[in-house]
Amino acid sequence: MKKCKDFCDQLSDYLDKELGARECVLIQEHLEKCAPCALIFEGLKTTVIVCSEGISDEVPEEVKMRLKEFLRTNCTAE
């Protein structure tokens, strides 16, 4: 009989759709009846969402300018 920890160990793969159909059904059934595991799964989903949206990919203008200058000097000289 699987314990909560066994289910929790599969949640990341479950989120990535890396599990087989049978395992997915077992996890879904467990999450429906186990509130703490369901909360952990929601937390994991939220974590992935905030990681994907929360880290800026902005490059400071001065960094962009120095990069452009560096590449013009070093690439075009070759």
């Binding site: 929790c8 937390g43 939220t46 990681c51 962009k64 120095r66």
Partner: protein, 196 residues
């Protein structure tokens, strides 16, 4: 914007503007990746320059076996790892045995998951996410950045980091849970917005 293959062809044909378009397209993602890998914006800038210079020099070796994005991220990752192995070996000398270490699991708390997304993604919330990721050991930080921040597939992450897919899955499982625990702990202390 022209697609990558057209820009590569243009660059190889001597059109430097085509290469500048490649740089324009990828500099944000590569800078973010390097900034997170080395936790130092100034060093990340040096590595950003190295990455694009190496990409320019090696462009004719791009075979198209992987996507151009994967190829470019592999160059950036290797630049960062070469630097870290030389200057901060203690940060990269991890192997997957650390995966067997136990993590204290907090009592699941609704405070984090019930916090509205706009608060989680506010200025303060974003700073907390950055902090939670920055605290991860490099072996975990790199998979979270490539998979969850940059959106590469597990296979692409394995390709970029030169690791097996099972190893990447294990690291990702571990890394996501550490970040989740850190954020849960923070929002537990802060208190659920619904209660305040």
């Amino acid at each position: 914007m022209e697609d990558d293959l057209q820009l590569i062809k243009g660059t190889l044909g001597g059109d430097f503007r085509a290469f500048e378009n490649i740089v324009e397209k990828y500099q944000g993602k590569i800078f973010r990746h390097l900034r997170k890998m080395v936790n130092d914006p100034s060093l990340a800038e040096d590595l950003l320059q190295d990455t694009f210079l190496n990409a320019y020099r090696g462009l004719n070796s791009f075979s198209g076996a992987s996507s151009f994005s994967t190829w470019l991220f592999r160059i950036a990752t290797n630049s960062a790892l070469m630097y870290l192995r030389k200057e901060r070996p203690e940060t990269v000398e991890y192997d997957d045995k650390v995966l067997t270490d136990s993590v204290d699991v907090l009592t699941p708390s609704p405070a984090f998951v019930s916090t509205p997304l706009e608060i989680l993604l506010s200025l303060e919330g974003k700073a907390k996410i950055e902090e939670a990721i920055d605290q991860l050991p490099l072996i975990y930080r790199s998979v979270v950045i490539l998979r969850d921040v940059e959106g590469f597939s597990l296979e692409e992450v394995a390709n970029i980091l030169g690791a097996s897919i099972p190893a990447i899955k294990s690291r990702l499982h571990r890394a996501r849970n550490i970040v989740r625990e850190t954020l849960t702990s923070y929002y537990m202390e802060k208190g659920s917005p619904r209660k305040s």
